[in-house]
Amino acid sequence: MIEAIDLKKSFAKPGAGKKEQPVMAVSNVSFKAADGQVTGLLGPNGAGKSTTLRMLATLIKPDEGTASIDGFDVANDVLAVRQQLGFMPHNAGIYPRLTARENIHYYAKLCGLSRQDAKQRVNALLDQLDMHGFADRRSAGFSQGQRTKVALARALVHRPQTLMLDEPTNGLDVMATRGLRDIIRELAKQGHCVLFSSHIMQEVSALCDHIAIISDGRIAIADSLEGIKQRTNEDDLEDAFVRAIGETP
């Protein structure tokens, strides 16, 4: 369960002096993502999706506003939030000199799992994500799909209730995308709260129960797919999206 209220975040321009106005990355973001559902954070490039997710993941502090993950405040209860949350950032960021198994195992150990427990958990994840074919190869030569699976397994290693995936289908081929979609649906069915960011309409409409459209650092509309279509008077999500962000389709 994710709840964000009026999140704001601005950054100083890289290399700019102190006098220059900072860039407003997120100006007004409020939305909810419920357990047992897949929630899509849909927005064009540069809309503030990654910044929002990073604030929720306690990686950066919001300038204003609050957010909570399963009831824990992201500003004050940092460790509890991280315990609840599995975060898969935009880039897989796995260690190329370690094998897939070692990558996952390393995170399991970092999360404080005992040796025995970590071993079991890694094996369970290798099963769940069907990774045995490449589990013991060094990840330097992995395909994008394999890398995403390793990163996803790592995000799941400490059994988080809430899962946030930043553009997970980027660079995946059709079959890999479908496979990933099944995994995400399965996780939601198990009762997890899954927040999923993307700029691809089909992706979101195929997968999400609930959609928050983000544009220029603010949430333009947040509802179910049907609700969004109704409220924008458009049949097509793409048109609805364009109208929601304030343009005419």
Binding site: Y95, Y107, C111
Partner: protein
């Protein structure tokens, strides 16, 4: 932390610098060249040396004198000047025509020594020969004076005695500072790539973001990286101490002077005194690479920083800073001074050691706190 070690053991560059370059190659290069230059500088008067002489038969007494001083007389080559210039023979002694007549007439007897200053062997051997010739000259002088009823001592108005009070020879000081220099450089080199890889490199591979999202305190993360770096730095230090020990077994003691100590106990003691530097160097490496955005940037900064551990070595070569209470808490400098003392078998007051350990560890802790602070900023991800 263990992951960092496995990860970096698989990185050839890190391993090369940690295990090979600092501990093995550097001592060999430096130590080897110093041994050679010391050997060239020192003259062994007991060693038999051959000398090419032109017209040896004109100066039988001189030849006899040289022979009794371990010089074998050989016939000179056809063109002695060219032979010396080309390095075929190191030097040639030319007994000039009229040598014998001049000796008999009590006049200066002409003799020429052909040498090649550009050639170290020639220069070294010429010094030996010149010393012998001067000895011969003194003998002749004394005989000539006595012959005329004058006490030869009348020309010795001063009796100069030089006594070298330093326990180590001239090369000793340099050799003594070699140990701290090698230890410190190889420690820095050993941790260098690992520190960059686990901080700036982590950011470059974009693996820092998921890592920071884990239910882990930032301190534990920084301490883990610090621990891994310490392992490599410590390992480099131990290996260097070992290889210096092995290397100095080959040092002829008469060359390095009796005051120098490179036995196992000394090296162990030196390593223990230097060991707080493991923490200090690791902390420096971690903190600096936390400032930087990419491995390349980190390498640049740390490359400049490499000059710092070398600085005391070069500065102490030119200016002698006395070890005092107030230099002891300074990391690097104090270890240089203490290690030199240990190797030279000077006394090392316990207070100095304690101050050095405390000062160094304190600085390491400060740097670590700074690194943790850096990791807690938003900017670490940017």
């Amino acid at each position: 932390m263990i992951k960092e070690i496995i990860d970096n053991l698989r990185d050839r560059q890190t391993v090369f610098y940690a295990l090979l370059f600092g501990p093995v190659l550097l001592p060999l290069l430096l130590g080897g060249s110093i041994i050679l230059s010391l050997k060239q500088l020192s003259i062994d008067f007991d060693k038999v040396q051959s000398l090419a002489v032109v017209n040896a038969e004109d100066a039988p007494n001189l030849m006899e004198f040289l022979y009794s001083n371990n010089i074998d007389i050989e016939a000179a080559p056809e063109n002695p000047e060219k032979a010396v210039r080309d390095g075929d023979v190191p030097l040639v002694l030319k007994v000039m025509p009229g040598f014998n007549d001049a000796i008999r007439a009590a006049k200066p007897a002409p003799i020429t020594l052909l040498i090649n200053e550009g050639d170290k062997t020639s220069a070294k051997q010429s010094r030996r020969i010149r010393t012998l010739l001067q000895g011969y000259e003194r003998t002749i002088n004394a005989l000539r004076l006595q012959h005329r009823g004058i006490n030869p001592d009348i020309f010795n108005s001063l009796e100069i005695t030089t006594e070298d009070t330093s326990l180590d020879g001239a090369g000793g000081q340099l050799l003594a500072s070699l140990l701290p220099f090698l230890l410190i450089i190889s420690m820095v080199m050993g941790g260098f790539y690992l520190a960059i890889d686990t901080t700036a490199g982590e950011r470059e591979r974009q693996s820092l973001e998921p890592l920071l999202g884990l239910p882990l305190k930032r301190q534990s993360l920084v301490l883990g990286k610090f621990g891994a770096t310490m392992c490599f730095v410590g390992l480099s230090g131990i290996l260097t101490a070992l290889s210096v020990f092995v290397l100095f077994q080959f040092f002829p003691t008469d060359i390095i002077g009796g005051g120098l100590n490179f036995d196992a106990a000394t090296i162990t003691k030196a390593f223990l005194v230097a060991s707080p530097l493991v923490a200090f160097i690791s902390a420096v490496l971690i903190t600096v690479s936390a400032f930087t955005r990419s491995s390349k940037e980190a390498q640049t900064y740390l490359g400049v920083l490499m000059a710092i551990p070398m600085a005391p070595f070069f500065i102490l070569q030119f200016i002698s800073i006395r070890s005092e209470i107030f230099t002891m808490p300074v990391p690097m400098l104090s270890q240089y001074q203490l290690l030199e003392r240990i190797v030279l078998a000077d006394e090392t007051p316990a207070l100095f050691v304690i101050l050095s350990v405390l000062g160094t560890l304190f600085c390491a802790a400060l740097l670590l706190a700074l690194a943790i602070k850096l990791y807690s900023r938003d900017r670490i991800l940017m």
